[in-house]
């Protein structure tokens, strides 16, 4: 047979492709078949490396206990190991289909309204009505889990506040007392300059400025933290208009310019732009007297607790957590942005009932307390906030005080896109590739492109 090879190849190809395709398809069907009546609830969150707090919280023992109490439900942890950006992309793709979606997802409160608008998330209101513990959650913080339609899509897991981390040895050497507390932005700049003069090898002031590696932290921990201290905001929830081309935006950028370029009291660009900026500053430099001030969240205590990434004895003797002052000290004198992560149920999950049972077990008083202790985040439950062990946490008093003048990010599904524009604006100023004026002008056109010119305004 001279034509043997042609036919044989065709036959082999078609058979192997067909069988492989069948195999590929079948493999999945049998997995989701409910032959044995147990429902598997898959939990997805972003894995943050060794000492990941979720892994420490939801241990094999915790899962076994839950499964014993709830026969018919199995819990499976599906951590996603990737950068934050890739985490959201992956989650969004997965939630599109009932075949791939996890049953419980960890959503940052800034992207939740956007994912809710995309139709990925199940409203939880009817489930929460039947949960007696829901009333123990702090009322003001519930909005972190709400969509732009006002429905509750997420159960708050943590919240946070931001301030100025201060190394006591460094600030003392610069000629201040240990209870130094900045009253306005100028105080911060003055202290940074003095630190630079007295200790040239120390990083005087650190804030997240790299759009590529800092991501949302640049928008929230750095820019918004400044902007809301000028009395302005990013978005007017009443008029539904975005703030552009304003004095507050420019002076916030000027602060960054002063730190990074004019006075050169920021970290070197190779530190500031590094993918490991956060861990370099808060796990290495700051606790080791190699950095003076750092503008960041209270959750950094999670680094220094026992079992954390860089455990530190007597942390309150080494560091202090100062409130973030407003621009010129206007009352109440301090300000903070507040956010946090929430637990949500994807709409396409087929196991809502079982998943909600797991959610309840994940957010009991005991688990919330443990989480706050492990992570250094603030609790979202009133009963935990009164717990003596919680109150013993280092810096808890300041962090909680800050919450009294806390602002939340805009509840708009467009925020994630605006956030990107903010990050680019901040990086451009920090690297001196644009002046504050130029960067603010670019931000105006960017935002107008995202939300439409008619939805912008200039505050004050």
């Amino acid at each position: 047979m001279k034509l043997g090879i042609t036919k044989r190849i065709l036959a082999i190809t078609s058979i192997s492709i067909a069988s492989v395709l069948l195999l590929a398809g079948c493999g999945n069907k049998s997995a989701s078949d409910k032959k044995d009546k147990t429902t598997t609830v898959k939990i997805a969150w972003r894995y943050t490396g060794k000492n990941d707090s979720m892994e420490r919280l939801y241990t094999d023992k915790w899962i076994a206990d839950f499964e014993k109490k709830n026969p018919g439900i199995k819990v499976k942890l599906d951590p996603i190991k990737a950068t934050e950006g890739d985490y959201f992309s992956k989650l969004d793709l997965a939630m599109k289909s009932s075949e791939t979606t996890p049953d419980i997802v960890n959503e940052d409160s800034f992207i939740l309204p956007s994912d809710a608008k995309a139709g990925y998330l199940e409203p939880l209101d009817s489930y929460l009505n039947d949960w007696d513990e829901w009333s123990n959650f702090t009322e003001a913080l519930k909005s972190g889990g709400q969509g732009s339609d006002g429905k509750q899509y997420g159960i708050p897991g943590t919240t946070d506040s931001r301030g100025i981390w201060t190394n006591l040895a460094v600030i003392k050497k610069a000629g201040y007392s240990e209870d130094w507390a900045p009253k306005n932005w100028q105080d911060i700049i003055d202290a940074a300059v003095k630190i630079k003069k007295t200790q040239p090898d120390v990083i005087p002031f650190a804030a997240s400025v790299s759009a590529t590696n800092g991501g949302e932290s640049v928008a929230m921990q750095t820019f918004e933290q400044l902007l809301y201290g000028t009395g302005e905001s990013l978005y007017n929830e009443k008029t539904k208009k975005w703030n552009v081309d304003s004095k507050g935006i420019e002076s916030s950028l000027e602060f960054i310019d002063t730190i990074m370029n004019k006075k050169k009291v920021g970290p070197s660009l190779s530190v500031a732009m590094s993918a490991n900026f956060g861990s370099v500053i808060y796990q290495d430099k700051l606790p080791n007297n190699q950095a003076g001030l750092g503008m960041d969240g209270n959750w950094n205590t999670g680094n220094w607790v026992k079992g954390g990434a860089a455990p530190l004895d007597n942390v309150e003797k080494v560091l202090n957590f100062n409130l973030m002052p407003t621009q010129d000290g206007k009352k109440p004198g301090y300000v903070t942005m507040s956010g946090g992560w929430t637990w949500a149920m994807p709409k396409n999950s087929k196991n809502h009932k079982a998943a909600f049972k797991v959610l309840k077990a994940m957010n009991t008083k005991e688990m919330c307390l443990k989480r706050a202790l492990y992570e250094g985040t603030l609790t979202v439950r009133n009963d935990v906030a009164k717990d003596s062990e919680y109150l013993k946490k280092p810096f808890i008093k300041t962090a909680t005080t800050a919450l009294q003048n806390a602002y939340f990010r805009p509840k708009s599904d467009l925020y994630p896109k605006v956030s990107i524009a903010i990050q680019q604006m901040v990086e451009a100023v920090a690297t001196a590739s644009k002046t504050p004026k130029e960067a603010s002008a670019k931000y105006t056109t960017d935002v107008q492109g995202i939300v439409g010119k008619e939805n912008t305004e200039t505050q004050k």
Partner: protein, 304 residues
């Protein structure tokens, strides 16, 4: 050339029919897979570039055709011109000049050297090529960092302050890293070609009293001209799509200093969640690849 000879030797019609059948049979598995898993998604990509496709937000729930809007936005976006420019710089310096030049130089120098020596040098250079991209970029980030190998050497030799390479010279850094990574490919291509040059030709030139330089420029290089042209085209196409190396080293920054088209596309599609826009950008890359290849074929007479 070979193929045209072949046809002459297959005389009758039924043989020709068999040949056609055989062609289809042999090409079937490859073409089938390409159609299903490559052409189909590509057609979808083209379609998506006319939509507001997004991973999140309102657009994720309501997919709409937006006509040429993505393309209009793209051509108005100053970032596009920047990205095209950065892509060209990256490709020209790291691939066309860097990899080809060093690949050829090393291949040339390696001729007639001790076998073990060739092996060791070859293995070191190829180790750079086979090392996974993520590891390559991490090694380079460490190599260029403040306390990295390069700065340690420079500081001890020249007594200067460490240089923040990735932030002061970002494009040079990624270009050098890519030369380092890709030279092995060109080296192997040229080694094969140089090995094929009959020894007599160059020996004859030596007897005629030609200098080494003359032999290289007048005999050796013209003889491998075809390989050089093909290699330039191949490394160009390989380098156009380089993403992981740049993104993990600099993230396209600082600012947009190293934002080549694949990085720009990724940022729009996955960081700003504008997938429709991102796919429109990726089509520009495809066009550049096609234009470059056609240009090479015309100017350098690359045979396909």
């Amino acid at each position: 050339m070979n193929s045209s000879e072949t046809i002459g030797r297959i005389p009758n019609r039924s043989k020709k029919r068999n040949q056609i059948k055989r062609t289809f049979g042999l090409l079937a598995p490859g073409v089938l897979l390409l159609l299903v898993f490559f052409i189909t998604p590509m057609v979808l990509t083209v379609i998506f570039s006319f939509t507001n496709l997004s991973l999140t937000g309102d657009a994720a729930a309501n997919l709409k055709f937006v006509g040429f809007q993505n393309f209009v936005t793209m051509f108005k976006d100053p970032e596009l011109a920047n990205s095209i420019w950065k892509t060209i710089i990256f490709v020209v310096f790291s691939a066309v000049i860097g990899q080809c030049f060093f690949g050829f130089l090393i291949a040339l120098l390696m001729r007639g050297k001790n076998k073990t020596f060739r092996r060791v040098v070859g293995l070191i250079i190829i180790a750079a090529w086979v090392t996974p991209e993520v590891v390559v970029s991490f090694c380079w980030v460490a190599f260029l960092s403040d306390g990295g190998t390069l700065n340690k050497i420079l500081v001890s030799l020249l007594n200067i302050k460490p240089i923040a390479w990735l932030y002061s010279f970002p494009m040079i850094s990624v270009v050098i890293a890519n030369i380092w990574r890709g030279t092995a490919f060109s080296m192997m291509v040229f080694q094969t070609a140089l090995d094929d040059i009959p020894a007599e030709i160059e020996e004859a030139a030596v007897i005629d009293g030609a200098s080494r330089w003359q032999i290289t420029t007048r005999i050796t290089i013209p003889m491998v001209r075809g390989t050089i042209a093909t290699n330039i085209m191949l490394v160009t196409l390989q380098t156009l799509g380089v993403f992981t190396l740049i993104y993990t080293m600099t993230g396209g920054g600082p600012g947009n200093a190293t934002s080549t088209l694949p990085v720009f596309m990724y940022k729009q599609a996955f960081v700003s969640y504008q997938l429709g826009y991102g796919t429109a950008i990726s089509l520009v890359l495809l066009v550049i690849g096609a234009v470059a290849s056609l240009l090479y074929m015309k100017v350098l007479k690359v045979k396909v």
